[in-house]
Symmetry: D2
Subunit: 334 residues, 4 copies
């Protein structure tokens, strides 16, 4: 019988809510609905236990993780499943590198540390990675902060025989995945793209943060579209424009819209205008509705299992298996 | 310098209009917009000449093919290009097998006979194939009538060293292509399909004919969706239902709508409801607008070049290269 | 304190399910969500009691109405409210006019008989009206069968001082309401309609019946659009076409699609293409999702109250107040 | 026979392009397509002549107005009509109040001055109004800058017997018109609004300017929605939120998206989520495509005729007839 994976989580936001509730749902129901990989290296989705959680919000600290995940500003819905207490009180997260020892101690017994805090605090991310190293725990970085792309850190994880997976989680299903698939499809069928846009609307804290720094995120979304070989021209609120291959048509990302009433649901409107034989018009309009935190949890569950399996096998450093689940896997330029 | 391919066409409907006009547009402009394969075996899209055309409508017979393509019920738009007279008068098409000799004589000088008449007249299709055999001309069957799937006919083309490509053209870009791509994408990303539908609206004679025989077409559309591994349940106007793999969710094809004002433009509404991690809802709504005749011509241009190249190389019978351009390639059960 | 209205219902389908469940929901919660008229002549939505119900399905007869409404083919969802037993067993409905006495006896104590059976059985409708006359009960006909439009019947209700409201319920919110509002809006703003279509998809028995008799329903839907002054051209599967004022543009109703997975939810796709100043294009695409049975119950609740109030006041015959809630009020040509 | 109205225009942007081209189209074709009021006080849409035009762009000054309207950044399309030279060279617009005399002199012969420059320069707007007063010309202010709402200016126009119409043109057909109509429709039918949003995308200079000052415009759009009695909550990029009547549901306006490839076409995505009987869900998704400059010209043509007619009749000051064509008619608080 398989030994369950013990995971510690940094960040008790919507993504952790989706992870914790989903684990309860799948373990109890045996359902495989929405699961991309039922088993990875012998580990099922129900074979994961959250054994520690770190947060900085005073309201969350000390509460059981199964309660803390419902505190504002979290707004991922309550799933339709029993959620027994985890007997895991949320621990105060680290604020600076002086607390690495305290965090490392709190990691005792964990095998994987999933770093699922908001992006934008690289020093914090690296401090947690340091704690994982000290505690002999595998580290998974889901944020865009460079951790697995830091060669020095990667070398230390390799030397210690500890897995280090990251950076920047690629959602199981989101606007970029869909937009890229449609751009690729047009290309495969020989249609010529004339123009395309995407608009993203959402109601999470994540969205609120991103609209405050719109160009960064839109550039990232444009980058996410470039592997298709299609040009991407960003048109930011401030009026800047990054130009790509004009011949391939224009792909524009409109400003993100923070609409609180959407809560954890993201709505995206996509349009693709193209030309087929005889230069006649082909047009596609798409509306997507999806819960972003589910898209994150659906990939985190794979990264956790890959990390745990590598740890148990003594394979330190990065994992080729994880690369397709990450936007900026180790080796990518920072 | 390459010798241009001489093509005879059976049927002077919208698809032939798109082909003839597109050839003029591309030859004159040098544009590659909407072209899937700029060159096949050395042949560009401008290297095709229509040298004969057969039709049954008295209004079309005797008119230059560049005029006949604009007569009703044809409603493919006039493209934005010069269209010089082809000096090819439309010939009276054959009505029964006694006229094979006459048609074969009219094929003198042609290399490829593109059979682009409405589906549903298998005897006529085979009679034209017979005329092609007699005239030493390659045959391309774009209809769903079984010609290339007829082993006896295929053997005769092989014996004669004449290419025989068919059956049933797969559009360059249409509802099935798009719907399949989206169903596959959900599957690849690990989402579980709950339900899906497509509605097709159009204004061509083709659409008018199909709505008179709705179940056949809808079953064909459902079949077109099955290679994805997704279940397909058809719900026809008359109430029948073909059941597939229930666990994989329901894919329904609504009755076709013949709306004359759409002319040669097809409009499709697609919906996909799925579940991701935590069984949370993912929904996709898509509107597609496309000119069906362009989708046909964009593939016919490839089939013609494959057939011509095979003919010139002495490769008779079917062609592996053509299989992906056909819904029912030779070898498929009738 | 107001005396509650005692209603008998013919037909225990989705519309009755929506009515019975909604009454329980509103009475218990005091909510006014989705209520068009909180009070009519002193009667609130919670002031209605269903005291008798007639059905022909052997499975439903004898069951409490609060259970019978969930039996197949009914597929209106279970609302989120307590639904205590009504202590009203479903009675066997009448099959022919010989049973009028039995039904009249079963109506003892009722004030209003709501005729909510499927359309298409005018003799049955009139027989129930006869039973209502005999029992001294007001009659509300929600079907398109002519009852209130029958002058002889109307005269008998008037003579008896009994209200007779009908025919053919106009939904609280459906495709016709929305399509008309958009056509009117374009007209008011001075835009010129070029073309328009609507496609309706649904999964109820009602939809299944309608797709078997598609032209009737589509003509009715086209008629529903004519008061806007816009032309309506129907394009039925069988190829018929009703022509209106061509100058005003084409409004087409595509064939209904019966998609069982939609259950009681209706989905409609609407498109309006118009021209504004300088003959530039204006286009509108709309997707509507709505539960048809809710649209019916939301109007039935008003008709019941109007009928009860008229009965109590001794006002027999039709009611001007009800005319706007009906597609074919009395006085309309049959 | 009617004397044609002589109009001078300030601003040679997209709106003037739509006006000038539309006048040529309608005069030549006699078409009434897209015209809201064929005749106002005896004046048809073809009875308008542009006799002077003011601009500040050096490229436009000195060019015939029929050429200047096609210079960048203008991107309203070339309409399908002959556009003979107007023999009206674009005049250098005023930069400060010292030039009022020069402008007044250039207005000789004009009856109406249409102020159609970008909003946001109230001093310039008032200087042009001063020039109109001096020249004895009626003034129409289409911008949101307060001119007709300035009581002192209004008094001077009244005293001079000159019409002064403004402020802030209400488009013939745009997002606000549509969104309001849908909100009103839900309300009339008794549905309860749960939430609603609109996203506006466009490619004009106007859009580019607005995205640089997003909250102002979004607040204006929210204000435009308030007459429906529905609450409006704005959620700006910077995170502010204007709260309305929470009980009536949330109407959100997402950040404007400047997508240059859309040129003068505006695209809006609207969503309305509501509840009907039984608190069941009703949802509406709408995509609108429209040319903003046509929406402006279609109303300017009415304001010009109202102003000219009032001038000829000696009715100075504001006009009740114009109030419904303006967002902030005189009398509105600034």
């Amino acid at each position: 019988m398989i030994e369950r994976v013990k995971v510690a989580v940094v960040g008790v936001g919507n993504n952790t809510s989706a992870l914790v509730q989903g684990l309860a749902l799948y373990r109890h129901s045996g359902s495989l609905v929405g699961i991309r990989k039922p088993v990875i290296d012998g580990l099922g989705v129900g074979d994961i236990d959250v054994v520690a959680a770190f947060a900085t919000s005073p309201e969350k600290i000390g509460r059981d993780v199964t309660e803390a995940i419902f505190l504002p500003p979290n707004n991922f819905p309550r799933l339709n499943c029993d959620l027994p207490s985890a007997d895991v009180a949320v621990t105060k997260g680290l604020v600076d590198a002086t607390e690495i020892d305290r965090v490392a101690a709190a990691l005792a017994g964990a095998e994987v540390l999933l770093y699922s805090a908001p992006s934008g605090r690289p020093e914090t991310a690296r401090a947690y990675a340091g704690a994982a190293l000290r505690a002999g725990v595998a580290f998974v970085n889901t944020t865009s902060d460079p951790v697995a792309r830091d060669p020095e850190l990667m070398a230390r994880f390799e030397a210690a025989g500890l897995p280090l997976l990251g950076d920047d989680l690629a959602s199981q299903f989101g606007t970029s995945v869909l937009h890229n698939a449609l751009l690729r499809l047009l290309e495969e069928r020989g249609l010529t793209l004339v123009s395309s846009y995407q608009v993203n609307l959402g109601g999470t804290e994540d969205f609120r943060n991103l609209v405050e720094n719109p160009n960064t995120k839109r550039q990232s979304k444009l980058n996410a579209l470039s592997p298709t070989g299609n040009a991407a021209t960003g048109n930011a609120a401030a009026g800047n424009a990054a130009t790509g291959n004009a011949a391939a048509g224009t792909v524009a990302v409109a400003p993100l819209g923070y609409l609180p009433h959407l809560a954890s649901q993201k709505v995206a409107h996509l349009n693709l205008e193209a030309q087929g034989w005889g230069e006649t018009a082909v047009s596609l309009d798409v509306k997507l509705k999806v819960h972003d935190p589910s898209g994150a949890a659906g990939v985190n569950i794979d990264l956790i299992r890959i990390a745990a399996s590598a740890l148990r096998d003594g394979r330190g450093g990065h994992s080729a298996e994880a690369a397709s689940l990450l936007k900026s896997p180790s080796g990518t330029a920072i």
